[in-house]
Symmetry: C2
Amino acid sequence: MPGGPPWWHGKLRGWGYRMTIPRQVILDLLNRSSKHLSAEDIYLAVHRTYPGIGLTTVYRTLDLLEQMRLINKFDFGDGRSRYELSQGPQWRHHHHLVCTKCGRIIDYTDFVTEEVKLLDKIEEALTKKYNFKINTHQLHFYGLCEKCR
Amino acid sequence: MPGGPPWWHGKLRGWGYRMTIPRQVILDLLNRSSKHLSAEDIYLAVHRTYPGIGLTTVYRTLDLLEQMRLINKFDFGDGRSRYELSQGPQWRHHHHLVCTKCGRIIDYTDFVTEEVKLLDKIEEALTKKYNFKINTHQLHFYGLCEKCR
DNA sequence: AATGATATTGATAACCATTTCCATTTATAT
DNA sequence: ATATAAATGGAAATGGTTATCAATATCATT
Ligand SMILES: [Mn+2]
Ligand SMILES: [Mn+2]
Ligand SMILES: [Zn+2]
Ligand SMILES: [Zn+2]
């Protein structure tokens, strides 16, 4: 691993948190994954190399990273929360297609420019009208994927 | 209650289901409410007049109505599912503002025309590109409401 | 490099929304 | 009215997530 500490190293310190092995390992996994991982997914993946890391710590770390807004937390309706890195080198703003039959999730970036333009406009108007400070948004399309339709 | 059976009466029969008292009562409550009710909310409200209706039946009925697409099921992130009628006399297409502090949910209809126009266009393109049959969508803005910001 | 304050961890148990089970009741076609 | 399958409700089970707490690891200070 060349090139000094990863990009998120300073973020944790900046928020006054310590840089621990579980946090590094979990962040590294999320950084290398392009999937939408559940807490258990992460626990199992991490467990192969670091059997000492407990599920509780996974949950705690995910909560922490979500509060720092380093990751996004989703509920796609399958009974468990799922997480993805919200920023980083290869990150792009995107939304989701969710198959209600098999649970497959497709990231799409088509039209995001147009979407984000409209959403920004809406955000601004809603902020004024309802005096509501908007931090994030989620747009999900639900339906049947190629295999399931 | 003048005017014959309510508008949803035929729907259940049309799907081959029986019209039972719990189903009538739950649908009537959802029809009269403008809130986003949890299963427990519904159970408690219904329980005052019909103490015999059990929580299990509430869950079962909500599942049924969701499958029939008479209601929408949401997860706003507070650990329980919430439901609203998806059609009916006073229904209008709308999206949601969710306060991450107090859980307040605001329905808004501003810009829905523009939104829906763009979303329809996106839906069409995504359907083609990913061979994905889209049934519904959800757009949530998360932030802090007037009181909490 | 050793120290000490305290942030963090991991195992276990608790929590709680939702499901499963199954005997009983109810709706409806005949 | 009767028969039959659908629907119900209470109790117990399930499963993802959170609370508890003693043990451990981090890191500013020495
Ligand atoms: Mn994604
Ligand atoms: Mn609504
Ligand atoms: Zn599918
Ligand atoms: Zn609020």
